[in-house]
């Protein structure tokens, strides 16, 4: 029996992997659990990374990412497909992050960031990763989110505009400001680290 099921399961996995996001969403709306699992597999990491870069805390990021997928499941019958699934998901993640930030603390804490030398991997890479997260945490949330959606998730200006309900002009100007702010804070934090060595 198991031998007979296995080829069918493999065939189903192959079909799901080849399906577009829109096809998977339609299948989810029909109650096909495997379609929802495939969407989970495709987007769990990027949802969690976006939340992590917004909040600076891995545990909170995982909570947010899970909550986002639960909301996707609840709302998928009403999803009209006017935007891409990824845009919709990132909008949910962003709103959850901003809500969490408003409720808990106006600035993002970085308790979970390891000190240099205590994390795995090349020291330089770890240090730069830490500095990147500190710089992002120091930015206003509205600049941080457009920068992450563009640089981390690769969304176009139009997709960012749809995800955040912002005019294109606002997306353009916020990205420009975000990059300038990132450079400024990076240089400031980098200099202060050099001084403390």
């Amino acid at each position: 029996m198991e031998e007979a099921i296995r080829p069918q399961a493999v065939a189903l996995d192959a079909r799901l992997a080849a399906a577009s996001d829109a096809e998977l969403v339609a299948a989810c709306a029909e109650g096909v659990q495997e379609a929802f699992r495939e969407l989970l597999r495709r987007y769990r990491k990027s949802a969690m990374m976006l939340a992590y870069q917004m909040l600076g805390n891995g545990e909170d990021a995982e909570d947010i990412a899970q909550e986002a997928f639960v909301r996707v499941f609840q709302a998928v019958p009403k999803f009209r497909g006017e935007s891409a699934f990824s845009t919709w998901l990132y909008r949910i993640v962003t709103n959850l992050c901003l809500g969490r930030m408003r409720r808990s603390h106006p600035t993002v804490a970085l308790e979970s960031v390891a000190e240099p030398g205590t994390a795995d991997g090349p020291a330089q890479q770890v240090a730069e990763g830490m500095l990147t997260r500190e710089v992002l945490a120091a930015m206003p949330p509205e600049l941080r989110v457009v920068l992450l959606l563009r640089e981390q998730e690769g969304l176009s200006y139009g997709e960012i505009s749809g995800a955040l309900h912002l005019p294109m002009g606002t997306v353009r100007s916020r990205l420009s400001k975000a990059r300038k702010r990132f450079r400024k804070v990076w240089n400031q934090l980098g200099e202060s680290r050099e001084k403390t060595k």
Partner: protein, 134 residues
């Protein structure tokens, strides 16, 4: 410059900027710095690992919510049904009362006496006196 980096600049303006970049080291440095930001953010993104039971926790939560939704649906279905049944019973009760209620008890009549004649109307003329010899 930011729009140019993202490929969101109109073709004519992009061409002008590219021509300028060939001769301006300051703008070249600016563009390099922006590309560096992209690289740092993407590099920082690959470090985080998703926990192995992430999917299971989501699916468990979703499964729970789905069951609860079904139960809520059944409750909301019962309520109008009960109300409809009660309304129907009340209506039937009224119909029964109007059409099939048991008759009122008759007034007891003395033995041998005729049925009670209906009372004469108030303005009816009096019957003539009985003049027969007995």
């Amino acid at each position: 410059m930011s729009s140019y980096l993202d490929g969101e600049l109109q073709a004519a303006r992009a061409a002008r900027l590219e021509a300028h970049l060939k001769t301006c080291p300051y703008c070249q440095a600016e563009l390099r710095a922006m590309r560096g930001i992209s690289a740092h953010i993407r590099a920082a993104s690959t470090e985080l690992q998703v926990s192995q039971d992430f999917d299971q926790r989501v699916l468990r939560t979703v499964g729970y919510l789905e069951v609860t939704g079904r139960i809520r649906k059944q409750r909301s279905f019962l309520r109008p049904l009960v109300l409809a049944a009660m309304t129907l019973l009340a209506l039937l009760g009224m119909i029964w009362y109007c059409l099939w209620r048991p008759p009122l008890l008759p007034v007891p009549v003395p033995h041998g006496a005729a049925a009670v004649a209906p009372a004469a109307p108030q303005n009816a003329p009096l019957p003539p006196p009985d003049t027969r010899r007995r």
